[in-house]
Each structure stands twice: as structure tokens, then as C-alpha cells.
Symmetry: C2
Subunit: 442 residues, 2 copies
């Protein structure tokens, strides 16, 4: 990805830093200021793509030319950009880790110009995947073991959003995606049924079903709501033995409109009465965690859910207040005090305690050189601009996330806001440092 | 962009279509089912990228290999995909056109497999840019001529979302973006100030301002809220004459937190008292159309606004109910009747009437071969897979959008939902066709 995928001011500031020789090590931390909407926790995601971005960052001649044409950038800066590469260190929470406000989830240590330049794109990557993984985790909890498939590509915000949504939802426990490229790129299982247009293009619905089953003999799932749901299921039931005679098995039906719970009950009863107990009922159409929970609570006999727009855009909470802030430079802790946006200074670590059942019980944010107090969440992932070989695979991150969700206290697993926030303590030494920094800053 | 950036079912359906020789011309139309949230109108955008996608679509060997490994795809289909290219026609509303529910904004006419395959990515492109242009148009209306800059890259949903947001907001009337790559790619003006980290990295705020001004002598805008806004402005005022002696002019100050209106009034008074009347006051920080309107209504002396997250994610309405539906195949009009999601069949056109002041007064959706009734909104843009040379440039689209917004009735320009919806009439012949299609479909 291009190095110009950044805010212009990063480059302007670089010029000023270089002009004054301000190239000493800086520490920036990425964290979230507050939990948005109904979220009781967030799930860290996007680290792999963030590190890939840092490892491959560099300017092309075309980009340097464009900067030159903008005016205001010195020949010195442009020469340095030609050679630019990221040589810093990164420590971060492993992907799939549950986290809370004020906790750094990623820390960059690098010469100031490098650490500054990467801000916009690092946030852009980590914000999006964390947003989607956090939404997906809620849907996974609501789905309580039923099959969940990402159906959202068409209304995701562009190509990368679609692919990152497939990845982040798989990481958080989805069973797969409909987006083919996500299968190729990340090795995620890819699912698909049929569209209404397929039914419409045929002279009759029955002909459409038969054609589809013959073209996909092992796993055809029939979309039954194009005209009349129950009438369509009657056609599926009539076709079943005819196709079975040719060795073709219809795998299931998909509902996509109307009262999904009522249709599911009617359809399940029809299929069971016809002896087709193994045929699955799959549902889609404006689903989210609340609707899925309600359907299952009402006993809707639905085997799997396709979740689209609500997942891929995290539509109830389409953005998290994620920021990347300078906390330390040239040996001195730093802090901004802007109204309502003050930060905790210094190089930090997050320690987590568990209760006797293994559930997470409380975190402490302190300075990285304080005495450890529980499990340290920030782990080394990049040194001198190269990823460490110990980085988990996507499957390992997914397993980690599953364990994290299993160890959430019940109040945090609720879809509604928890009555009491998860305890995140700021250490005494960190509070003391903040006072010292304030006293010293003018 | 990869051809696998699609839902898997498109490929499964292709196999079934090819298997049965269903390759006759099909017509799909892209439209929005209803206006979301506070939107009184939508702005069509993304056509250029949609056409570029169609013109360059094709499968690589790596993609064909992946499909082969999935199993279930015939050698015949894979051979056809190797040669795949889009050879169809597209008619669409020019970018920047204001439109309403049930109005097709883009129509694809192509052999059924081609028209089907492109659904997911076409929607993905047009949905996002239309979403952002529609949000941006509201901000442009609220900003009433003040400078507006897209600041949202870091919280846009990925790389493409950031770039498309810059493009779509510029199209809708923004003055530029902070995203450098959008400048290179689309020729959009790029703006930038400084970050809090820049101030924090210096030993003092005053040193930071001086360093920044010397590195950017003609257009430095100082961020003044890192520690204390008014104290920072005092430093800017003290520095001004010293830097002016070196031929350096501080262009303005940026407020980013707290009560922006109160700070703007205090800061403006301080600058004016110091004789710095030409210095601008720029504001950012969680802005949207409502906050901008309130600030301006309260007389806040703000010259320009940076709008980030609310613009780039269209955070109040992060998704529109945009769909792409088969309306005609092999000479026969088609229609889906799914509960709550029925469509109007046939190949359609939208005609628009204006009142005596040039304001838009009502649209009619009818069959394309009906007698025209006003200005036809769908225009030819692609024939036999090639873009027509008559396509407007981005600057022309921007001018078109400006004219469109200027001709909106006052009720639609309000930020709140209009008491009466804009009249969109469905023609008698179209209603008649829908009845005929229903009677004929089983």
C-alpha cells in the first residue's frame, strides 16, 4: 500500500522534525478512549496487516514527484523519503485479545519521524478490524454455536473493508464468509447459496431449483423467498426424491425476508413431515446480534445465519474512538491535556488478573517497568522493522479469541451495557508521572 | 481489482447459467429501496470507479487455480472464466445527481452471466461513494460557503474507504482533503495543519510553533489546544511579529477540543486585538452537519471546518439499502415479490420535472420506451464494455452536484426529515407491467 495513504500533515511535520534534527526515539501508543454504544468490551484485531504495512512501507518515485509538485517540501526531506523505511519496534496485544478503554493495544517505538508518519494508516487498519471483530464477537455470543457466515461484502465500505470484515469476523468466531477473495487471501472457508435473480431468470422457480442443484450437486441451498416461501419449499420437497435418484442431495433452504421465525417454523415442519430432517434451514436478511438472539430465544429452528450489513459496517457503532498518541520522546514522558481528551503519559503495560474460574477479573495499566501484576498483555511483535517469527497465525488468533470470549464475566457477555464497567485501574506510579509531566509542561 | 472480490454464489450461479446455456441479455438495475435516517435525498456517486471495474474485470491464473481447488466448479466454467471480460452496456445517472428511492441510478445490460457476476463489487463501489456523497452534501449545505476539509482517513473503513470518501466529499462540494494519496490519485486539493504529538515532542509549545512555521513558511496553521487554548494563542500572537521579520506568515490557528464556539470567539477577539485580522480560525473535533450549523447559527467566527469520522463513515447512517436486481431477461420483464422487498420490473427510465424557479419538482419512473416526461436522468455511459468518451470529469461532476444542490426545494435542504417526501411517481404502464409479471410468474 502506498506511503501517501496518510494525512498530509504527517509529511509536513516530518519536514519540521528533520529540519531541527528531532529524530530521537519516540513512543506512540494506540488505544481507545471510551466504549461506544452497547459495547461491553472490544476485541483487538488487525495487527498482522499493521505489521505488514510497517515492514513494507516506502515511497515510490511517483509519490516523491507528487510531493515535489505540491511545493513546500525541501529537497532534503524528499531525499530522505526516497530512502525511508520503518526500523522501529512494536509491542501489541495479540489479535483476539479482549480489551478496554485507556489500555494501549499497540505501542510503536521508533525515531520520531518514523513513528509519526505511520499514524494515519496504522489507525486506519487497526480501527477497522477491531471495530468488526468487536461487533462479530457479540454476534458469535448471540449465535451460541449456530453457523455464522459473513454476507456483507456488497455494503462494506469498499474493497478493503469487505476483506478485513471477512478476516476480523472469522477471527472472532464466524464460520466463514461469502467473499471469495477472502478465501484466497486468508484461507477462510467460503460459503454461498443463490440470489433472487437466479430464480427470476428461470421460467419457473422449480426449474431454477433443479438447475441449481444439478450445477452444485453436493451442497445446494435453495433461496425460497423470491415469490412465496412455503410454496417454494413445497417445490423443493417435490424435487428432492427426483434429484436424489440422480445422486443429487439438496442441502438446505434459505429464508431472506418476512418473519424469519414464523417461516422457519413452518418450513421446518414441512421438511420434517417430508422426512427431510437433515436438510438445514439457513436465514439471512437484516440480521444482527439482537435479532439472532430473539429468533433463537423464540425457538426458531434455524441452523445457520448469514449476517451482512450490520456486521460489515458495524452499523450500530460504525466507529470507535481509537487514537495514537505520543507518550514519550527523547527520554521524557509526554502528555496532551486537551479538554476531554487528556492522555496517560509514559511507556505502559497492561496486566490482567483472573478469578478462580479463570474469568478475567480486572486490569491494571501501569508503566512498563513497574513490578508485574498479573498477565502482561502487550507482547513483542516487531524488532528493528522486522516481524518476530513468534507471531500467531490467523487460526491461532481465532483460538485465542474463542478462549477470551469464554472467559468473559457473564455481565460483559450480555448484549446490553453492563451495569458495572470492567475494572481498569491506573497505577499509582502512572498517576504520579502524569502530575510530574503536567508540572513540567508549558 | 481482483475478480474474486465477489460473493461466491455469483460464481456458483454462473456455473448453473452456463450449464443451461442461459446467456441471453439481462437487465439489472441498481437502486435504493428507502431513504435512511435523516436523509431527504441521496447523491449518486462512484460511477467512474464502477465503469473502471467493469472495463478491467478479468480472472488471473491464481484466481482460477483457487476456484479449481475449491471443487464443484466445472472445467468448462473455469475455461470460460479465463476468457471472461465484461462486454455489456451501462446507463446511469451522472455522478452528482440527486436521486430518490425506487429510481434506478445505474442499469447494466449484458449477457446474464456477466451482468450477474458484477453485482457484489458494483454495489460495493456505488453504495459507498453514494453514502459519503449524500452525507457530504448535508455538511456542504450546513457549511454555507465556509471551507470544508475531509479529515477522516484514520477512521474510514480501510484504504479504499478513505480514498473514496475524499473523492465523494470533493464531488459533493468539499474544498479538499487531508489524505495525500487522494491528491495524487484524483487531483483533489490537499490540506494539513499539525498534530498534538508535534507540540508534545517539543520542549515548549512556543518552540513547536516556531519550528513548524519555519518549516512551512507560507501556510502554517497552528494547533492550539494541546495544553491550554487561549495561552497557546498568546504565544502565536507573540511569535507573529518575530517570524514576520523573517518573511514568515502564520496563516491561522486550529481548535480541536472543548467548546469550539466559545474558544473561537475568544481566539478571534485576541487575534483581532493584536491586529491579526487576516489570520484564520479553523475548527475540528467530532464535527458533523448539525454541529457546524449550530456553531454558525451561534455566530462562531470560524473560517473553516475539518470533518473526519462523521463524514468518512457517514456515522449516523453508515449504510443505505442499495440493491441490484434483475428486471428483464431474454425479452421478458422480471420481478421479485419477497415480503417488503418487491421490485418494479422492466427496463426503466427516470424523468424529472422542474418548477418555474428551476427547482426540482417531481420525478416519474417509467418504462424506458414510454413517452418522455421531463429530463431523462439515466444516460449512456458504456457500450460493449467500453466507457463512452462523453463521460464527465470529476470537476464536471462536482459542478453538476453544486447545481443539483442549488436546485433542491428548501424542505429537502433541511437537515431534519422533510414533512412531505419528494414526489416520485410510478407510471401507469409500469404498474400494469408489474401486474402482468405477477400473473405470469409461478
Amino acid at each position: 500500500m502506498t506511503a501517501l495513504l496518510t494525512d498530509l500533515y504527517q509529511l509536513t511535520m516530518l519536514q519540521a522534525y528533520l529540519h531541527r534534527g528531532m529524530i530521537e526515539p519516540a513512543v506512540f501508543e494506540l488505544f481507545v478512549r471510551k466504549l461506544p454504544g452497547e459495547r461491553n468490551f472490544l476485541v483487538a484485531a488487525g495487527l498482522e496487516q499493521a505489521l505488514e504495512f510497517l515492514e513494507t512501507l516506502g515511497f515510490t518515485e511517483r509519490e516523491i514527484d507528487w510531493l515535489e509538485r505540491q511545493g513546500g517540501f525541501s529537497a532534503d526531506l524528499l531525499a530522505q523519503l526516497r530512502e525511508f523505511r520503518f526500523t522501529g519496534d512494536v509491542d501489541a496485544m495479540p489479535e483476539g485479545t479482549v480489551f478496554f478503554p485507556d489500555e494501549p493495544i499497540l505501542r510503536v517505538t521508533a525515531p520520531l519521524p518514523q513513528a509519526q508518519l505511520v499514524e494515519s494508516r496504522l489507525l486506519n487498519i487497526v480501527h477497522l478490524q477491531t471495530l468488526i471483530a468487536s461487533k462479530a464477537a457479540r454476534i458469535v455470543i448471540a449465535g451460541s454455536g449456530h453457523q455464522l457466515v459473513d454476507f456483507g461484502m456488497r455494503r462494506a465500505h469498499g474493497a478493503e473493508a469487505a476483506l478485513f470484515a471477512s478476516r476480523a469476523s472469522w477471527l472472532a468466531g464466524f464460520d466463514g464468509t461469502a467473499t471469495a477473495e477472502a478465501g484466497l487471501r486468508y484461507g477462510i472457508p467460503v460459503f454461498g447459496t443463490m440470489a433472487h435473480s437466479f430464480v427470476q431468470a428461470h421460467r419457473s422457480e422449480r426449474e431454477a431449483f433443479e438447475n441449481f442443484a444439478r450445477a452444485r450437486p453436493k451442497r445446494a441451498v435453495m433461496l425460497v423467498d423470491t415469490y412465496d416461501t412455503e410454496a417454494a419449499v413445497t417445490k423443493v420437497i417435490e424435487l428432492y426424491p427426483l434429484l436424489a435418484a440422480d445422486g443429487i442431495r439438496i442441502a438446505g433452504v434459505r429464508l431472506d425476508s418476512g418473519d424469519l421465525g414464523a417461516h422457519a417454523k413452518a418450513v421446518r415442519a414441512m421438511l420434517d413431515a417430508a422426512g427431510l430432517k437433515e436438510m438445514i434451514v439457513f436465514a439471512s436478511g437484516n440480521l444482527d446480534e439482537h435479532r439472532i438472539r430473539r429468533l433463537l430465544a423464540d425457538g426458531a429452528p434455524i441452523d445457520g445465519f448469514g449476517v451482512g450489513t450490520a456486521l460489515d459496517t458495524s452499523s450500530d457503532v460504525p466507529t470507535i474512538d481509537a487514537v495514537y498518541k505520543l507518550q514519550w520522546y527523547a527520554g521524557v514522558a509526554r502528555r496532551k491535556r486537551s479538554e476531554g481528551k487528556a492522555t496517560w503519559p509514559g511507556i505502559k503495560q497492561v496486566w490482567r488478573r483472573h478469578d478462580e474460574h479463570g474469568r478475567i477479573a480486572g486490569d491494571r495499566v501501569g508503566l512498563a517497568d513497574e513490578a508485574p501484576d498479573g498477565e502482561p498483555l502487550l507482547q513483542p511483535c516487531m524488532r528493528a522493522g522486522r516481524r518476530l517469527p513468534t507471531m500467531p497465525t490467523l487460526d491461532e488468533a481465532r483460538a485465542h479469541c474463542r478462549a477470551q470470549l469464554a472467559h468473559l464475566p457473564e455481565a460483559l457477555r450480555a448484549l446490553e451495557p453492563a451495569p458495572v464497567a470492567y475494572p481498569v485501574e491506573i497505577s499509582g506510579r502512572l498517576r504520579e508521572l502524569a502530575r510530574e509531566v503536567d508540572a513540567a509542561t508549558s
